[in-house]
């Protein structure tokens, strides 16, 4: 169709002489292009070039081992993770999964206030709104949603069923992923479980409430199986418990 349009309406041709100002501007900005060649963002504002820059820095803080990624589909899916208070678990999980899967993974929970909101959007953040999550899932994106933060890293917090409802509405799978990290160690782990299957078929809004509760329960079981992380420092093993 596009080709047909181009044939019907040919672009005008002429002797396009370059204006001197254009040449001056091109010369002045040439060094910038060497550093930042053809910058762009994706349809959600995620900036892969920026992520490529910050990933080495993130590796200084976290050394994340990812397991169970084979459970995730090629299309969209919601991944619910446990969250430790004052930790950036959804962000680190999204970045780790993105690197392991070599595809963009987004996280829920960016603010809409400068400067943090825009920065989080550039690394894949979405607003914590059901319609925002539904849109991303419909577009075939993987979306990481954090459960309510807890002080104990081995405790799964409550999960907002209104946000889970977005996945139900879009008929996208819901996965849980247990994460384990400590404040003092680099070692971190993300373990993705297979898709959650609702125990009862519901026609109404009970479905999302039940799947949110089921996700919290199974996330807790997965955390129990995962065990605590080890600090590697004799006598300080308890720090791995949070």
């Amino acid at each position: 169709m596009a080709k047909a349009t181009a044939e019907i309406i040919p672009l005008e041709r002429g002797d396009a002489r370059r204006v001197p100002l254009d040449s001056v501007l091109r010369f002045a900005t040439e060094p910038v292009e060497k550093v930042l060649p053809r910058p762009t963002v994706d349809e959600w504002g995620r900036d892969q070039q920026l992520i490529n820059v910050i990933m080495p820095l993130a590796h200084l803080r976290w050394d994340v081992t990812v397991g169970g990624q084979q459970h995730l589909p090629r299309g969209g899916a919601l991944i619910i993770v446990n969250t430790r208070r004052f930790a950036l678990t959804p962000i680190s999980t999204a970045l780790a999964l993105s690197q392991a899967l070599d595809r963009p993974v987004r996280f829920v929970g960016r603010s809409d206030v400068v400067p943090f909101g825009p920065v989080m959007r550039r690394i894949g953040g979405l607003l914590a709104q059901p319609d925002e999550i539904a849109g991303a899932l419909r577009a075939g994106q993987l979306v990481v949603l954090g459960a309510d933060a807890t002080s104990n890293p081995r405790r799964a917090g409550r999960i907002d069923h209104t946000l889970v409802a977005a996945a139900m509405r879009e008929k996208k799978p819901v996965h849980i992923a247990a994460t384990m990290s400590t404040m003092i160690s680099r070692q971190a782990r993300v373990e993705v479980a297979s898709v959650l299957r609702p125990r009862h078929k519901r026609r109404g809004s009970l479905a999302e409430s039940e799947i949110a509760e089921q996700a919290q329960r199974q996330l807790q079981e997965l955390l129990n199986e995962l065990g605590g992380t080890r600090t590697g420092v004799p006598g300080l093993g308890w720090l791995g418990e949070g």
């Binding site: 169709m1 349009t5 396009a16 292009e33 053809r38 504002g45 809409d112 825009p118 419909r138």
Partner: protein, 327 residues
């Protein structure tokens, strides 16, 4: 579906002229007429054009009812600071919507209306969706968005009264070599302001793709709103870098001065462009292929690259006088 009479309002605009040129090649189009305050920007072979002000309601009604169209493609939308200032744009757009859509309602043959709407209709208030789809609430936060909302509501009102279908195409900012666009004009300035703290992403749409979508919507009889945008996105600073322009970072309060300065240098910045550069402008255009069977061919970065490739002045080379004489 053959021999349809199609009326294009706003045929004098670049987009309207493109739509008319495409319609001339469609086998389902029988007669083609256009109406606008300005003459068409392209040579049209089949179309009949009527130059009339949208405020001259009685003449508009006479022309439209005499033609008795099956399909109305309403492109008579003046973007603020594109060709005229905001107040005049509002007045012309509302005048055209009232007179042309109202006149179309008097036509017994009318089956379908397609209106050109805008992505600005969703608004960019705090915590508004990053990439709203067609089901998102319309809450415009700029004058152009409010104009788009009024056009859609007028068209819906007319359609409901006379029992025809209406499809609104919510276009991302349209750019093209001859499209008067305040965003395109601003980005082509030597020094371009952008929001240092936010630098949000936006998407755009090539004029040919917009025209394609309008024609496709008329052909299939689209009966609901539809977002049309090029795939991909870009931020203000990225567009500036790609265009080899000098970025002028702003953090907020100096936008008022920037707008005045920019107006002084010939590129007035309307509120919806300020909003685009401060709050972003993305829409979910994934439904276009299923709904009308076409998707924009050029990506946002390609449109932005071509924006800077379009020459400011096209020097038309005269034929060599000696060869002309020899011939």
């Amino acid at each position: 579906m053959r021999g349809k009479r199609v009326l294009v309002s706003g045929m004098g605009s670049e987009l309207g002229s493109l739509v008319a040129a495409l319609l001339e090649s469609q086998d389902w189009v029988g007669a083609l007429e256009g109406i606008d305050i300005d003459p068409p920007r392209r040579r049209l072979r089949r179309a009949v054009f009527h130059r009339v002000s949208p405020h001259d309601r009685s003449r508009v009604v006479d022309i439209v009812t005499a033609f008795n169209p099956h399909v109305l493609i309403h492109v008579a939308v003046w973007e603020p600071n594109a060709r005229v200032n905001t107040g005049t744009a509002r007045s012309l757009t509302e005048g055209a919507a009232t007179s042309i859509l109202g006149a179309a309602a008097e036509c017994p043959a009318l089956e379908h209306i397609v209106v050109r709407s805008a992505a600005e209709i969703y608004g960019r208030a705090r915590n508004s969706l990053t990439r709203p789809d067609e089901s998102a609430p319309t809450a415009p936060t700029s004058e152009f968005g409010r104009m788009a909302l009024r056009i859609e509501s007028t068209a819906n009102d007319v359609a409901a009264r006379v029992g025809v279908t209406v499809g609104a195409l919510r276009l991302a900012p349209v750019l093209g070599p001859h499209v008067p666009s305040p965003l395109g004009r601003l980005l082509r300035m030597p020094v371009v302001p952008f929001s240092l703290l936010a630098d949000p992403p936006f998407s755009v749409l090539r004029d040919l793709d917009a025209a394609d979508a309008l024609v496709a919507a008329a052909r299939v009889g689209l009966d609901h709103p539809l977002n049309i945008t090029a795939h991909g996105a870009i931020t203000g600073s990225q567009a500036i870098l790609r265009g080899h322009r000098i970025p002028a970072p702003t953090i907020g309060p100096e936008w008022a001065i920037t707008r005045r300065l920019s107006q002084f240098f010939g590129a007035p910045i309307p509120d919806h462009v300020v909003e685009t550069l401060n709050r972003g402008r993305l829409i979910d255009g994934d439904r276009a292929r299923d709904a009308i069977g076409v998707t924009p061919a050029a990506s946002t970065s390609e449109v932005i690259d071509s924006l800077f490739a379009w020459p400011s002045v096209i020097h038309v080379i005269r034929p060599d006088s000696s060869s002309v004489g020899a011939a």
